[in-house]
Symmetry: C2
Subunit: 327 residues, 2 copies
C-alpha cells in the first residue's frame, strides 16, 4: 500500500491513498483525517485503506485525482519522533580517515543514533532555506521506517513486525556547524535543520523480495544539479538492520506509533557507486589530494532523491529540492 | 490560566481547565479536545479557555470536579518537540571540576542543548521503569516552556512573546550510560528515557512579578525519599533566559506550536540550596573527598518536584515518582 499527505493548510495535511504506479490518488477522510491518525489506530484503519488501495490499482475510484507529487507534504508533516541512525559505516570510516582517526570497535556493534527535530518537516518539493552559505549546507540520502507502538525493551528479533511504512529521507545538514556543536558534547542540534521525506510512504510488502532481513535491497538514486551523483545499494554494508535500529531506541524507552527511525546516509565501499552526500565526496578528495574541492550547496543548487524498482518504476516518488538563499 | 490533561485512554488525554488554587477542574471538549489541539489554534481557543478559567476561580461551574493530580498525564502526553537546554552553568562547572576539566569560554555565550524524545512522556505520578539498576537512574528538576509557532531565525528579543505556557520537568537520566554515549559523539540517546512534566501547565501571567527577563524568579523544591533535597532559585545564575534558549532552537529551523524547551537542571553556586539531581551531589563529594558516596536511584526510591508561590501555594502541582524495578 502507498500513502501520501497532500498539503491543505492544516498542520497534518490530507491523507491520500496513492496507486502503485503513482498516477492516481484519492482522499480518505472517512477512514482517517491524517497519516498520524491512521497510525494511531492502525488496526482499524489499515484494512480500510488497503481496500481503497486495491480498488485504485484496479480501475476508476470515485473522487480519485491525478497524483501530484508537488502537492505533497512529507507523509508525516510533523511527527512525535525522528531518530536517525548511522548504519553505513563506510560513511563513518571515510569521515574518520580524512582526519586520520580510527573507527572505534564499538561502532560495529553499537549503533550511532541522534534525536532529530520532528515538529516541522519540509515538503519533498520545498525549497531548502539557507540563511548563511558559510554554514555548509549538505543533503543526505537515506531510507527511514515508521513504527507502530513498540514496548520498552523490545529486542531486535521482535522489532521488524513493528515497522509499518518506509520512506526516503533528505536529512539536511549544516556541515560547518557540526565541529563546534559536537565539541560541546551534546550532539547535533543547530547543524540539523528541518528534514524532508519522500512524497510517498509504502508498506514493506510493496518492496517484495527487496525487503528482507530488515533492510531494503535496492539502490538509492541521488541526482545533484541534474547529474547522477550516487546510486549505492541500500542492502549492502548496512551494519545494523532497521529492526536493530528500532531496538536501539527501545532499549530504554517505548516508541509511540508514528515514530520515524532512519538509516543514516547510504554508502558503499565501492566508490563507483558514488555518494549520497557532498561531505563524503569531500572526504575522498581530502584522502586522495589533501583538500576538499567540492563546495557545499549554494542557492540554486538542487538535489533529487529517488528509488526505482527492478522495472524502473519509482517506488516512493521523488524528493526534489532547491536551495533558497535569503535574497 | 492553568491547564492540565487527564488520562482517558486516548493518546492525547482530556484537556482540563484547573482553578488557580488547584482544587477544581473542568473538561472543555467544546473548546479543544487536547492541549495540543488548543495550541494548534491558540488564537481561537485561548479566550474561550480564559473565560472558563475566570468562572472556575469565581464559583461553581457546570461539570467541574475536584482536581486530582494523580489522574493527570503530562500536560502534553506526547509532543512534536522537546529540546532541553543546560542553562545553569554551576551544574556544568561541578561536572567538569569533578573530572579536572575547565568549562570552555564558549559555554557562557552559546547554550548547551540536546534534542529529547517526545513521543511518549510519563504522567507526573507514574512510576519510573528501571530495567537495570547499573544504568544509574537520576532525576533532574527543571522548568520548561511551551511555545507557539516560532518562525525560522527569530531573535531572542522576539522569542519571549512566543512562550505560551510553563511547566516543571523531571528530566530522567541514566547517568552510567552517558560516558559511552557521549564518547560516540552524537549526544544523549539511550541515556535519556521518557521525561515527566508537572500535572499543571500555566500561562506566564500566573507567575506575576516572578516571571521577568524570560526567567522564573522562584525556588524549585525537590524532595528525595521524603526529605528536602534542594531548593535553588531558578532566576539566579540562569545563564540563558528562556527567550535565548528558544532563539537557539530557531537559529536554523522554525519551531511548531507545542514545542517544549527546557532550562536544564536548576543549580545555584550557593551549596546551602542543595541540588536538583543526584549527580551534582556526587560531584561535590568527588571534589571534596575523592569519591561519590550518594548512590543513584534504586527501586522504591522516590522524588517530588514542586514550586510554591510567595504564599506557599503550589503553582504547577507536584511531580511525584517512584522507581519501579523489573521484579
Amino acid at each position: 500500500m502507498k500513502l501520501a499527505t497532500y498539503q491543505n493548510h492544516t498542520r497534518d495535511g490530507q491523507l491520500m491513498v496513492v496507486s502503485r504506479d503513482l498516477t492516481r490518488a484519492v482522499a480518505v477522510p472517512h477512514i482517517a483525517a491524517s497519516l498520524q491518525a491512521a497510525l494511531d489506530d492502525w488496526g482499524r484503519c489499515e484494512p480500510a485503506l488497503q481496500e481503497v488501495y486495491a480498488a485504485l490499482n484496479q480501475g476508476p475510484v470515485n473522487g480519485a485525482v491525478d497524483f501530484d507529487q508537488a502537492a505533497c507534504h512529507s507523509p508525516l508533516p510533523r511527527a512525535y519522533q525522528w531518530a536517525d541512525g548511522s548504519a553505513y559505516l563506510n560513511h563513518v570510516e571515510l569521515v574518520r580517515k580524512a582526519r586520520g582517526a580510527e573507527v572505534p570497535a564499538s561502532f560495529y556493534h553499537d549503533p550511532l543514533m541522534y534525536q532529530g527535530g520532528s515538529d516541522a518537516f519540509l515538503p519533498p518539493h520545498a525549497a531548502i532555506p539557507l540563511a548563511d552559505v558559510s554554514w555548509g549546507l549538505d543533503f543526505e540520502g537515506e531510507v527511514a521506517v515508521i513504527t507502530d507502538d513498540v514496548p520498552l525493551g523490545t529486542v531486535a528479533a521482535e522489532c521488524a513486525s513493528h515497522i509499518r511504512l518506509l520512506m526516503l529521507v533528505n536529512d539536511i545538514t549544516l556541515r560547518n556547524l557540526i565541529p563546534a556543536e559536537l565539541a560541546k558534547g551534546f550532539g547535533f542540534f543547530q547543524s540539523k535543520p528541518a528534514t524532508a521525506f519522500s512524497p510517498v510512504a509504502v508498506t514493506p510488502d510493496e518492496l517484495g523480495a527487496a525487503w528482507r532481513d530488515g533492510k531494503v535491497h535496492l539502490p538509492l538514486r541521488v541526482e545533484y544539479n541534474g547529474a547522477l551523483y550516487g546510486e549505492p545499494q541500500c542492502g549492502v554494508e548496512m551494519q545494523f538492520s532497521f529492526a536493530q535500529l528500532v531496538a536501539h531506541v527501545a532499549k530504554t524507552r517505548q516508541l509511540a506509533a508514528g515514530s520515524i527511525v532512519g538509516s543514516g546516509t547510504i554508502s558503499n565501499h565501492d566508490r563507483s557507486t558514488g555518494s549520497c552526500c557532498l561531505a563524503e565526496q569531500r572526504m575522498i578528495e581530502i584522502i586522495e589530494s589533501g583538500e576538499a574541492r567540492t563546495p557545499f550547496m549554494q542557492p540554486g543548487d538542487h538535489v533529487r532523491i529517488e528509488m526505482l524498482d527492478a522495472s524502473g518504476q519509482s517506488i516512493f516518488g521523488r524528493i526534489d529540492q532547491r536551495v533558497m538563499g535569503n535574497d
